[in-house]
Amino acid sequence: MMRTGLSALWSHWRRNPLQLFTLVAGLALATALWSGVQAVNAEARASYDAAAATLGDGQYDQLLPERGDLIAQKTFIALRRAGWLVGPVVEGRIGAPDNRVRLVGLDPLTTPSGLGPLGDAATTGLPDYLEQLPVYANAATAAKLEGLLNTPVVIDADIAPDTAITDISVAQRLLGMDVQLSRLIVAPVQPIGRPPLAEIAPDLIRRPAQGGGDVGRLTDSFHLNLTAFGLLSFAVGIFIVHGAIGLVFEQRRGMVRTLRALGMPLNRLIVLMAAELLALALLGGVVGVLLGYLIAASLLPDVAATIEGLYGAQVSGTLQLRPAWWLSGLAISVLGTGLAAAGALVGIARMPLLASAKPRAWATARGTARRLQAMGSLALLAVAGLLALAGEGLIMGFGLLGCLLIGAALLLPPVLDRVLAGAQRLATNVTAQWFWADTRQQLPGLSLALMALLLAMAANIGVSTMVSSFRLTFTGFLDQRLASELYVTTESAAQTAAFEAFVADPARETLPLLSVDTTLADLPAELYGARIGATYRENWVLLAQAPDVWTRVAEQQALIVNEQLARRAGLWVGDDLTIGTGLALPIAGIVGDYGNPIGQAIVAEPLFRDLYPEVEALSFGVRSETPQALRESLIEEFGLPAQNITDQAQIKAFSLSVFERTFTVTAALNVLTLAVAAFAIFMSLLTLATMRLPQLAPAWALGLTRRRLGQLELVRAVVLAALTALCALPLGLALAWVLLAVVNVEAFGWRLPMFLFPLDYLTLALFALVAAVIAATLPARRLARTPPSDLLKVFANER
């Protein structure tokens, strides 16, 4: 019995290989997009974990110098002798300027255990460790270090890219930081009765542990973004699978009836069908995971570049097969199939033994379901409205996106139905009336595919609007920020002085880039010292400003902050900001600072030098009418190496390329999503075509030629795609608004102006129409070539 049942089930696939292909391909596509995105996320997260495990800066409190970036080693000893259990860290960069490696030195005896490879060294082989004093790095970093060190390099794949960890003695020597430390890690457990920090080391400040680490928090939004796309793609894929499975079960109703009439118990039949679906789900899942791997492998280099460009976090550019994502890919394939098939299986279980196998197209055209769907969608849109008005936080932003997209998708079939009903009323001839009525009749069968198309198009419109708005804003911003024609790097304080003397010219501005990492308004931030002159006064466009802003800053009466700092700290023009000990200045201007994740404050150069006398400017912007001539004289007369001089065009091109790559990832996902939606339309039309013979046969019998019927099929696809595209436009713009005005502010701390790009939208709509036509061509041609005998059989066969 079992074997008979199985062979009966299998015979369906033998007779309908295209359906089998649809099902597996739909599952595979859904899984591929999902697992590809997951793979990228997993890889990036593993890189952050490596960075966190490398030092775990975030998991412990740290002591930092209040000014400058060095701590005397004797301060460390004084703290230890006072009962402060702190571990020293020395940090700096070594290697060629374009190939720098971050070198971190630790003391395994006082560093909290488990912190990087040295933590293990303290417990597993201290004598060997101290004898060899190895440097730990991953293979790629080790290659960069070749020739720079005379200590052995131990390959450790868990260390973050471009980072090397070694003993504090080695690091101090390589970095030239004798008896100097960069910071101190505070052990989580401290002895009782310690004196307060201020008594022992008043010039150190304690930075509290940051759960999860800075990098993780900053990049979360990016990954949330990717995950949202992955889920969207999966939803589109599941639409396909749902459609395919529903159809399969529908067509098998007759077979089920026969099998049961022959004595196959219902339970066994259900188990068989479930097992069959599980096998198909696993097959689709495996294919999908493989495809996902390919997608991820091709996206990862761009993601790595994006994340590094945006956040400075380093992600390895190579993909590893991690169980986390391929298992989740398989699991979601099985779960998705289960989700899509549950209804159909329940239907089979409830089907009366001898019920007639009603065609699905009729069964699905139920008014109540449609009304419920419309009400659900309105409820979701209402929630979206509430979130937009009252919500806060990044999760809210994505919640808003979700409600908006799903609500709109659910609303699509009722809206289309109304529009088609209107068209039907306006129709003047019988063929047109039949066309509109028949299109309405098909709507339930096509609605999933159309919803997928709607989502794909809306996502495309939303994201491309965001990218293009971003690009316009950012290019303008670069013109403002990169005003200097040349950027020059000096190598020492002495060379800096000589350089300033060399380029001194009343007609020429030299702008030192003076900055220090610090904490402003309890947030990590950078403080800049600016030499205020024509460049700042003329080029900088401020988002908000007080009168005489630059004059007041130059007179050390005020400062300027970037938008990120202003928004995060809740400060605006006129508020005071404390910089350094006891010095608070009013904010005179807010500057747009796109692409920079952290807060900034800008003060006049003399004030900066008072606050941080030890900070030397080693980078300069130089204004020049004749940049090429100046560049040559700097190289030949002043003797500066050529690689120390960059011209503005180069920096600008590099900065732009970072932001181009930033959105390559989302653009690629956009195209994929749209392709999946087109595939969904194709499959829906294909499956509907075979079921619709009973509805087409009377039209044919009344005199419509098969060719004409085929043409009408094409027109129908175009009409539906065009209507969907019309609906997608407002939805896409709403999506763009949410991305720019809500998600962006929450994730990055700045708000982008929104620009509209009607030509892009038109192109997209055309693309969607072409996709619909392509999708409809094969089913239409099939219809046009249906043998008349098949159409006649409709009238002869009792179904």
Binding site: K74, G83, G125, L130, S169, I192, G193, R194
Partner: protein, 346 residues
């Protein structure tokens, strides 16, 4: 207290595990070796001997609170050299470890510290005497008058020590043999400290008085390869006599024993192998293993036959290298107090 050498090497597990105890003999190359008939030079010899591989300053105390509750404390500073030299900076081959513990009848608190030599975080200075690691310190004008402070996450102590008798020298005038094969160390003690001060417990501060025992020992060649652990006793009888005795357990089930009998005025008699005996009578489950916490200690030549019992059987030093160390009291055959250390129980 020669057998505590092993702790230091257990703290450097690669020696013990990867190379085995036998390998230590070869590693001793370049280090100075203890020689018979030592001529000590005080106060210089209270300081560090960086040309020897291992060295410690080891203090234990039996104390009582105002209500008669018995307490114990331990403070140890270990020095372990990777090379027989001392240099300034992080590169110094001298490594320091500190252990501190307080024992009450109900609780046992222990903690440890690590430091590299050459940077000032830990060290020993002979005159005026100061031994320190981080904020822990054993210091005074001379070795006879000291103040000891240490703290951990849940305890602290601050006690003054005043010696009531002379230094005593173990073995042959301070040359203490460790095995039948001839491994040896320099070993002397100050067992006559009177102590007064406070201990801080999670429940609050307690004023304490009592007696303390300081051990000084250094060597370059530790135990024989077949020695697996030890049981070490320092006992103070109410009669004023004191006894240091240990048995080294050997892998074939036999023991190597040694000891010193100390009269109230500080006269010593060495107890050669076999003339001191300690026999476990009962064990307690401690940290997943059975540890003897009740012993019969015998020195037939001195008519000593006493039952020794742990004040707190759970005196487990749960540190990088775990061992048992805590105060004991005599409950039969004689009366008095002491300290017991046991290692190598798996």
């Amino acid at each position: 207290m020669n057998v505590k050498i092993l702790i230091t090497f257990l703290l450097l597990p690669v020696c013990a595990v990867a190379q085995g105890f036998a390998g230590l003999g070869t590693q001793a190359e370049g280090f100075a070796m203890p020689a018979p008939a030592p001529q000590f030079d005080f106060p210089a010899d209270h300081g560090a001997h960086p040309d020897y591989r291992i060295e410690w300053w080891y203090l234990t105390a039996n104390m009582t609170g105002p209500d008669g509750t018995p307490y114990g404390l331990q403070w140890t500073l270990f020095r372990s050299a990777l090379a027989p030299e001392t240099t300034e900076g992080w590169d110094s081959p001298q490594i320091w470890f500190g252990h501190a513990a307080v024992t009450t009848p109900e609780a046992h608190f222990a903690t440890e510290r690590y430091a590299r030599g050459g940077i000032g975080q830990a060290g020993v200075q002979a005159d005026p005497f100061t031994a320190w690691i981080d904020e822990w310190q054993l210091a005074g004008t001379g070795i006879d008058r000291l103040r000891l402070t240490a703290s951990g996450p849940d305890f602290a102590y601050d006690v003054a020590l005043e010696a009531q008798g002379p230094l005593v020298f173990h073995g042959d005038g301070g040359y203490s043999v460790k095995s039948a094969q001839g491994q040896a160390s320099y070993y002397y003690s100050q067992p006559f400290f009177e102590l007064a001060g406070t201990i801080t417990l999670p429940t609050g501060k307690v004023d304490v008085t009592g007696t303390a025992w300081l051990d000084r020992e250094w060597s370059s060649q530790p135990l024989a390869a077949d020695q697996t652990g030890w049981d070490w006793f320092s006992l103070s009888f109410d009669t004023g006599n004191k006894l240091m005795g240990f048995r080294l357990r050997q892998s074939d089930g036999s023991y190597y024993t040694s000891g010193t009998w100390i009269t109230p005025d500080g006269h010593t008699t060495a107890l050669p192998d076999g003339s001191f005996d300690a026999e476990p009578l009962a064990t307690t489950a401690v940290a997943g293993r059975d540890i003897p916490t009740r012993w019969r200690v015998q020195v037939p030549s001195r008519d000593v036959d006493t039952i020794v019992e742990a004040v707190n059987p759970q005196s487990w030093m749960d540190l990088s290298v775990p061992y048992w160390e805590g105060p004991v009291r005599m409950v039969g055959g004689a009366s008095g107090v002491g300290y017991l250390e046991m290692t190598g129980y798996e």
